[in-house]
Amino acid sequence: MDGDLGLWGVPLAIFAGAIRVSTPFLFVSLGECITEKAGRINLGLEGTLVFGAMAGYAISYNTGSPWLGVLAAALAGSLFGVLHGLICSLPKVNDVAVGIALMLLGTGLAFFFGKPYIQPKAPILPGFDLSFGLLPPRLAEAATINPLFLIGLAAAPILAWGFRNTRTGLVVRMVGDSGDAAKAVGIAAMPVRVAATAAGGFFAGIGGAFLSLYYPGSWNEALSSGQGLMAVALVIFARWNPVACVWAAFVFGGAGALGPALQSVGVTQGYYLFNAAPYLLTLVIMAVMCSRKQSLAGMPAELGIAR
């Protein structure tokens, strides 16, 4: 450990960690944001994330190209999305229950097919060193950024713009906010919702690939720690606004990086407690934002478990 940084290492490590840890949060929450805008909740994204991680790692190992792995993960995610979307389009089916079932299916399948890939080392994604060798190694490590993070960062404002300025975006919001209004202008809600859930799965799959192909950068069964589930809370936190998802993901990522950062300067007491920070944050946010007296502003009106 380079003592010259001292306690300054903590915020730096948190910042660097936040970027790394937030990327899967960002992708899953952007995906969930699209799905929820169309009026569906997909709780199965945790399963999609884990399956995406496995699929990405396996394809990268077998083809030697981590980018093909990312693509495979995204496509596998879309398939899970389509499955969720179609099942939820059946009468009297509840999205939350289907989501939980698909979460278990996704993780189960990932563990089943992923067994042979736990040992082997697959090629992983490169990181950009934004310091160009000008900084000391500790700082350079913090300035190393994965292209996927930049893609996610760019996707958020593009999505926000698209929701306001494109036909696709307006139709998705319309379907999510008033199925009746959509029906009145001859738009069938079902295909739009299936497509939005598939797009959500696409993003979540990429989030999974980031886990196995960049950070931590290996495949094992304990890879995900519930990022897919927390993303749902995160979307509420971000009030269904893609740009706010970036900030929300960053806050959650920072909370996730707290434990390792403190450990790196020798604070080992309560390590597990600090690691629980993101979960604690989830609880606090839900408690603060959900009120008996108020409904959430900006929530798509078709969204709900009471339907």
């Binding site: 300025n165 307006l170 919001r173 007296k293 108020q294």
Partner: protein
């Protein structure tokens, strides 16, 4: 600008299973006329217009638009012909702005929207309208009357040539209704538009429609020029030979004590905006206080406070001079009964049986409860008695209440609540969406309670209902009581003005 279209249906028939909702109905609407469609709930008016709009496919018969037979397979096909409809429930997207709603309604949204050009077009359109709504405001932030105006503006923006309106004025104040209908009437007179208007309000039919068709039980029972048909004639066609319940004669008013005394109530709505802003009112025994107002002015929150569903931020509610906690014990002690609006949603458990719903007030008392056990027999016997007394039409006491018609749900809830001894009754929109027969029955029951000495707070968006039933009239606007007068001194125009004044 295109010209008005004529509409004709020939022997239109629509069956749902064994039930014939529409039985060989032939109506004729001239191009450039305003045609009223009259009938009770379930008479087939909505089915008729939904067949025309392509929502339903008729089992038999034809629809002629502009004298040509048309297969209208979907709402989109209807729109392509120049047909538009304003539904009773809103088809606006709540979290989107007025501009976004106008654009989406056209069904021709470009892949990437040029907002600058679209907005310029919308602004030009708004400038040509007598009433306008801010383009950037999200729909959820509009008052209900404004939403109805947006619905109508939306159809006009799309250059419709035939417009069907399903009870367009039910949420408007009398002045707003005249403004909207007067403007539409003007477009009809210019030959730009044909209008079919479903309505219960005879006053509007006589003022704005030149022809009327009356439906009863899926059949056309009468049609003609409004100038040739007297009001009693129309009512008789609409309800048939059955006589309506007459409101019980008002017993001369005994000077009662103040039962409900609410003062300085302040409360926020579900979105955290201040809905009640220092509202105070008092209701005496043996009187009906009618509280009028355009919905969304705090009446819902007021009723929720009285029902114990919402805590006020400030102010006090007293019943019989004591602070009222609005819980089950306090309600029993002070004999307070609340009848919220939309009884299926707010006053019953939809999946529970009629008998169980009838028992909700007393199931925890003898004879329905014996210690921790419930007596099914006692619950069923009590239910059978009430079902008979209140003529609730249900297959059996064990039928889930959600399967009953709206009128029968309301009868069930009234049977449960009015069979109690009542000192204070709070009712909200008790007749909303009910047909003429059920409405007359329920109003008679309210007057009967008043005569027995109950203090009644009647919250209603239907000004006619308020003026018919109340001993005193008050107006709530922006969360404050804006007007109060005994019925003899109440002035319809003044009330309408206070309802929209801020």
């Amino acid at each position: 600008m295109s010209d008005a279209l004529s509409l004709e249906t020939v022997g239109l028939t629509k069956r749902f299973g064994a039930f014939t909702a529409l039985d060989a109905v032939s109506i004729k609407v001239r191009a450039g006329s305003l045609h009223a469609l009259l009938g009770e709930n379930g008479a087939g008016k909505s089915t008729l217009v939904k067949c025309v709009m392509g929502y339903y496919h008729a089992d038999d018969g034809d629809v002629l638009i502009g004298d040509r037979g048309q297969e209208i397979g979907s709402p989109r096909a209807a729109a392509a012909l120049g047909l538009g409809m304003v539904y009773q429930h809103f088809t606006l997207v709540p979290n989107m702005s007025v501009a976004e709603n106008l654009l989406l309604a056209s069904g021709k949204v470009p892949a990437v929207v040029d907002w600058k050009a679209e907005r310029a077009k919308m602004t030009r359109f708004m400038d040509s309208m007598p009433f306008r709504v801010p383009l950037d405001r999200p729909i959820s932030a509009l008052a209900i009357g404004e939403k109805q105006k947006v619905e109508i503006l939306k159809q006009l923006y799309l250059d419709r040539r035939l417009l069907i309106l399903d009870e367009p004025t039910s949420v408007l104040t009398p002045d707003e209704a005249d403004e909207v209908l007067g403007f539409l009437r003007g477009l009809v007179d210019q030959g730009r538009l044909t209008i079919v208007m479903i309505s219960h309000k005879l006053r509007e039919i006589y003022a704005y429609a030149e022809e009327v068709s009356v439906l009863r039980q899926g059949k056309l029972v009468g049609a003609g020029r409004t100038a040739d048909l007297a009001a009693p004639e129309l009512t008789r066609m609409m309800v048939g030979v059955e006589t309506l319940a007459q409101p019980a004669a008002r017993a001369p008013k005994p000077a009662g004590d103040v039962v409900l005394d609410a003062s300085g109530l302040v409360a926020a709505d579900d979105r955290g905006r201040r809905a009640l802003d220092g509202a105070s009112l008092a209701v005496r025994a043996g009187e009906i206080l009618g509280l009028a107002g355009v919905s969304g002015n705090g009446q819902r929150e007021l009723v929720e406070i009285l029902a114990g569903q919402r805590d006020p931020e400030a102010g006090a509610v007293k019943v019989h001079g004591e602070r009222y906690a609005a819980d089950r014990a306090a309600a029993r002690k002070h004999k307070v009964v609340c009848l919220p609006e939309e009884p299926l949603k707010n006053a019953s458990v939809p999946t529970m049986s009629v008998a169980e719903n009838l028992a909700l007030r007393r199931f925890d008392l003898a004879p329905m409860a014996r210690g921790p056990w419930l007596s099914d027999g006692a619950i069923r016997r009590a239910a059978e008695k009430l079902i008979g007394e209140y003529r609730i039409r249900t297959r059996s006491p064990a039928t889930p209440i959600a399967e009953l018609s709206g009128g029968n749900v309301q009868r069930t809830v009234l049977a449960r609540d009015l069979s109690e001894e009542i000192d204070l009754l709070v009712v909200a929109n008790p007749c909303f969406g009910l047909d003429v027969k059920a409405t007359a029955e329920i109003r008679a029951a309210l007057v009967a309670q008043r005569n027995k000495g109950a203090a009644i707070l009647l919250v209603s968006e239907d000004l006619d209902e308020i003026l018919e039933l109340s001993d005193r009239v008050a107006v709530i606007a922006s969360g404050k009581i804006a007007y109060e007068a005994p019925i003899a001194a109440a002035d319809r125009q003044e009330i309408g003005k206070r309802m929209v004044a801020h």
